[in-house]
Structures are given as C-alpha cells and as structure tokens.
Symmetry: C2
Amino acid sequence: MDLASLIREIPDFPVKGILFRDLTTLMRDPAAFREAVDALVRPYRGTQVDVVAAIESRGFIFAGAVAYQLGAGFVPIRKPGKLPAETIRVEYTLEYGSNILEMHRDAIKPGQRVLLVDDLLATGGSARAAVQLIERLGGQVIGIAFLVNLTALKGVDNLAGYAVYSVLDM
Amino acid sequence: MDLASLIREIPDFPVKGILFRDLTTLMRDPAAFREAVDALVRPYRGTQVDVVAAIESRGFIFAGAVAYQLGAGFVPIRKPGKLPAETIRVEYTLEYGSNILEMHRDAIKPGQRVLLVDDLLATGGSARAAVQLIERLGGQVIGIAFLVNLTALKGVDNLAGYAVYSVLDM
C-alpha cells in the first residue's frame, strides 16, 4: 500500500511558507491506519519496551496503538499546564516558534526502556526535548519512531546518538 | 485487575472545586493499559465500525488503540485552528468553561458507522458536541465508549438516544 499517497499536503499551514503534511487522510483509511501502526511496531517486536512515550497531540494517536501492540505502558508528554500532578519541563524551539513540554515526574521509573513515538519528524526539536525529559527521569531511550521523516529538514541530526526509525521518508 | 485503583485523584485541578481523575497512572502500567483497551473494544467486536472518532487530546490515546483493534480508521476531533483543511465546528459548554471542537469536512463519508471513544465522561458536553459534528457529516454514531463515567455528573443524560458504554463507573 502506498501510504505516502494518502498524505495530504496543505501549503502555508500553520504559517506562510510551511508545507503541512496532513496525516488525517491516511488515518481515516482503515487499511492504511493498520499498515502504518504495523510498520511502526515491526522493528521493536521481540525487544523489551516498558513504556511508549508520545508527544501531544497527534503523536498520541499512533503511539496508543503501538503501546498496545508492544504490550507496553503509555506515557504522555504534554504542553504546559495539562498534566495535573508534579511535572518536569523543557523549553525548545520548533519549525515555527517555540514551545514547552512537560512530563509527570513519576511517569517513568529509572532504568525503564522507553520507545518515543511521534507522527512526523521535522526539525526534531520536539523529539529532542522529549528525549531530554525522558532521560532526566532516568529512562533509557531505546528508539525513536516516526511515521514520516521530512528528510530535507535534517531532524535526524538533532537526534544524533539515538536509534531513529521512520516508516516514510519524504 | 482493579483498574479504578490505578486512577489518581487530584483535587482542585484544573480549577478549584474539581476533583480531577488522572488516568496517566493507569496508562503507564502495561497490563492496565492493555486491559483498559481490551475492555473498550469488547462490546464492539463483531460489529461493523468504519471509523473511530476521538476528541483531542487524551481521547486520542485509547482511541488509536481501539481503532487498530477494530480494524477501523481514525478520525480526530480537535480544538480550533489545529486541523489544516476545511472544517466544520461546534461550540459547547463543559464542566469548567466553554470550548469549540472542529472536524475536517471530509473526515467522514455519509453513512459511515462511527464509534466515538473518549477517556472520561463528565457532563457529556464535549461528547455531545462531537456527536453533532459526526452527524452533520452524515456519520451514524453506533456507540459512545468511555473508560470512566463520573456518574454523579449525569453525563449520560446529555447523550440520550445513544448507546453509551463505560468500562468504569465512579
């Protein structure tokens, strides 16, 4: 199945000059959603993954299914003020603007093996921030999986030293 | 497994007087996350579900896994300005404040069978708004599934006429 053909391109969203990749046209297709999740899971079958961590909001969609398939727990990484208990936070810059991400201080136990899952790798800023949060809690990032890698933005360079996997390189 | 015992109660979040049910302590536990997804899926096994719709952001986590398990597509219902293509919207009141939800106009084809999945039923305002959006697109809401129903808030009354299912009544 040609998953890439199901991704809709939206010029100038959310700001002028950005060509937004809209994955909703892929996700609404049952066979494509299934194949995307299967492809995200495949490299980690037989690997111990304690928890899957994902970045709000779109990252949650694929990551929930991946966590279930791997028999892992799920840990959300969220925008400020959303998590109700004690948090740690990191500020970072992204493709358009800057942002803060938070995790619950008790989200991960030291030594746990964590797979970070997100829908799309652009510059890698948010994934880099997520890795920092996971490691501050003592988690071991055993991999970072994206459905789409926008290779021209060289996000992988921002994640040097980590095992980055992407289903689709565009 | 006593899923309810894994839910953390946070007083006065996000505003004074609200006892927030924090499901992150349940989701981070692999066995509990698996059991929660299985329980959400069980009533719909053998039923045709074309797409699972879910409300940003926490609803995405369970709903992604449910969609995968049911062989359905996934459709996000989001806060304003997040969906990049043409949208329809509805404004509604919720437990604390008011809100707007949007769906892509082409998210659902007329006649498709839609299961709405969310983590928690409080007053039912956001689920009610989601149902309105789905029906304006011609979707048929074949069920609304929640992990938790806060029964004292009588959210089911706001969803009269729909097949509401909840895993945990609290």
